[in-house]
């Protein structure tokens, strides 16, 4: 593998408080899906860590442990820009200092994007709300990157360098 990595702009996009959902699957290939409440990318722009609330993402956490497969979709509601990242070495890692604050910033930034679209603030915040003590981190190496913004290019693989 040549080593897919994110551009700086893509890193900024996925860390900016967009709507995030992650999927894995069990050994029968039944998919699991949950909301993600935060995301950070390592300096190499290949290692991606996503934060989930364990009370909501129990099946996903279990499936990642079994399959190591993870797909994560990022979407900004106001522009519909959508990116999907995939990894095949996903695993749970310890939370880093500041992860709870990261998730809080993510929740608020997402709400800020939603407000001009006519949603009420309590709803907008609730969509990415989490319990600090239930936060879990899943880390993976980026193996595939897809542009999924609705339109003729949706689903196309983005080759890097």
């Amino acid at each position: 593998m040549s080593g897919t990595s994110l551009s700086e702009e893509q890193v900024h996009f996925i860390e900016s408080g967009v709507s995030i959902s992650a999927a894995s699957r069990d050994m029968r290939r039944v998919p699991s899906v949950s909301k993600v409440v935060g995301c950070r990318v390592a300096a190499d722009r290949r290692q991606v860590t996503v934060l989930v609330d364990a009370t909501q993402a129990g099946q996903l956490l279990q499936d990642v442990e079994g399959s190591k497969a993870l797909a994560v979709v990022f979407c900004l509601p106001s522009s519909h820009r959508t990116l999907q990242l995939k990894g095949c070495d996903a695993h749970q890692v310890a939370l880093a200092p500041g992860d709870a604050e990261l998730a809080a910033r993510h929740r608020d930034a997402f709400a800020a994007d939603l407000l001009p679209l006519g949603y009420a603030l309590p709803f907008a915040r609730a969509t990415h709300e989490f319990q600090v003590e239930q936060l879990r981190a899943l880390c993976f190496t980026l193996s595939d990157l897809f542009e999924q913004t609705p339109g003729p290019n949706a689903g196309s693989r983005l080759e890097q360098e």
Partner: protein, 451 residues
């Protein structure tokens, strides 16, 4: 984990397309995929349909592995639900497809994606499980009205009606007062089955009674053609009334011309629209249409309620038609018209399309025009003022269709047009299945032969 025996019926607000859902699938090689889907549509208590818009990984995956998991958010409370789904089939035509296509047009228009979102198919999934995912929820802002209670009140009003005009009036007034749907109209199917004519409306500056709408176009025409409710939550240009009418006129032959002299009564910027077919005895009778300048005004509950109302309306229309066609012979002496004074009003009749002009003003055309001309002719030639529905129905000069045309509806149309357009001629009901023509000025009848 919370119990998962929840019914799809309880989470229908999540299935309005107000918030995109996430769908996870898994390929044959075990690679998961997750993407957003604009529309997860309620089909019945155990099936949903997802909008298939693009050939993508999700599509490829469900064909190889029919298991999918969808994450939904309630658009007011943010309650989270996970649906375990099994892909069953794709529908590319028919009622479900048309309902989803119209709804998607509204969603696309609201998202600025009108040129991008196009429904290729309705992917139907069986719902295997519904999980209420724990998390922070916001209390709903308002308590939804109990539609079944409102419908019960409205059905009692309808049951008390003894003629079609009263029925239509009660239905539209009830929609406004009991269901808070003040902009509404009833259109009936023409006997040729290719267009609908407006027979009653409520909440518009001009009634638009007598205006026509093509079958198969726009929300109203598609609801009629596919006999299915069609609903959109946002203004979508492809479903604008004027567009449907213009497209029809551009393509239709002369023989299929729509009434264009009478403007259609819809709102100029209608964000929410809901059209339901009026069906009875296996036939399409017409369409009940409501609209609102507010987006997201009509949901699944309103759609169900209107379908119930339309059924009631359909059965009542047929029943009252029977009554009107069998008029009471109350034995009153026939009323003969007294000679009138004053300047005669010239009434011109064009048999080519049965159009009638009062002086220079257009009144009506088609079946209602022909009936009006016949009434005036009988009035002038035989000095008669009272007529029965039955004699009109069998009148060889009129050649009315035996079954498929609702004579009573045509008479309502004529009555309303006269009330709106003339001070000199009045058409009244005078008993069951009987009508009276009252003239305040003499008339001069001119039949203009086709050239």
């Amino acid at each position: 984990m919370m119990p998962s025996s929840r019914s799809l019926d309880a989470i229908r607000p999540c299935l309005e397309g107000a918030v995109p859902a996430a769908i996870a699938t898994c390929g044959a090689d075990g690679t998961p995929n997750v993407t957003l889907v604009s529309q997860v549509h309620y089909v019945d208590a155990s099936h949903v349909a997802l909008s298939f818009q693009f050939f993508n990984k999700t599509r490829e995956n469900i064909l190889a592995n029919p298991q999918a998991t969808v994450f939904l958010l309630h658009p007011q409370t943010s309650a989270r639900y996970r649906l375990a789904l099994l892909y069953r089939r794709t529908e590319t035509a028919g009622p479900l497809f048309e309902s989803m296509k119209a709804k998607l047009a509204g969603i696309a228009s609201n998202a600025g994606m009108s040129e991008v979102f196009r429904l290729r198919g309705a992917d139907v999934y069986q719902v295997l499980d519904i999980e209420h995912v724990p998390g922070v929820e916001v209390p709903p802002a308002q308590c939804a009205p109990c539609h079944i209670a409102r419908l019960r009140q409205l059905s009692q009003r309808l049951a008390a009606c003894t003629d079609l005009a009263g029925l239509l009036e009660q239905c539209l007034e009830g929609l406004a007062s009991q269901l808070e749907m003040p902009q509404a109209m009833v259109l009936l199917l023409d006997s040729q089955g290719r267009k609908l004519y407006t027979v009653a409306s409520h909440g518009y500056p001009l009634s638009g009674i007598g205006s026509e709408f093509p079958l198969g176009r726009g929300i109203i025409g598609v609801a009629a053609q596919f006999r299915t409710p069609i609903r959109i939550a946002h203004l979508a240009s492809e479903y604008a009334y004027s567009r449907a009418i213009h497209e029809h006129l551009a393509e239709a032959g002369l023989g299929d011309r729509l009434e264009t002299e009478i403007a259609f009564p819809g709102l100029a910027e209608s964000h929410s629209q809901l059209s339901v077919p009026i069906l009875a005895a296996g036939r399409l009778l017409g369409v009940l249409h409501v609209e609102s300048a507010e987006p997201h005004r009509f949901g699944y509950d309103e759609e169900d309620c209107l379908m119930g109302l339309a059924s009631l309306l359909g059965a009542s229309i047929l029943a009252l038609q029977q009554v009107a066609d069998n008029p009471s012979e109350e034995g009153a002496a026939p009323l003969f018209a007294a000679p009138l004074q004053g300047t005669p009003l010239t009434v011109r009749y064009y048999p080519a399309n049965s159009s009638v002009f009062l002086g220079e003003d257009y009144l009506i055309k088609g079946v209602a025009g022909a009936i009006f001309w016949r009434l005036l002719s009988l009035h002038v030639e035989e000095q008669r003022s009272e007529f029965s529905n039955r004699e009109l129905r069998i009148d060889p000069a009129l050649k009315l269709p035996e079954l498929d045309d609702n004579l009573e509806a045509r008479l309502i149309l004529l009555q309303r047009r006269l009330a709106e357009r003339s001070r000199d001629i009045v058409l009244q009901k005078c008993g069951r299945g009987r009508l009276r023509l009252l003239l305040k000025r003499p008339v001069l009848l001119q039949q203009i032969a086709a050239r």
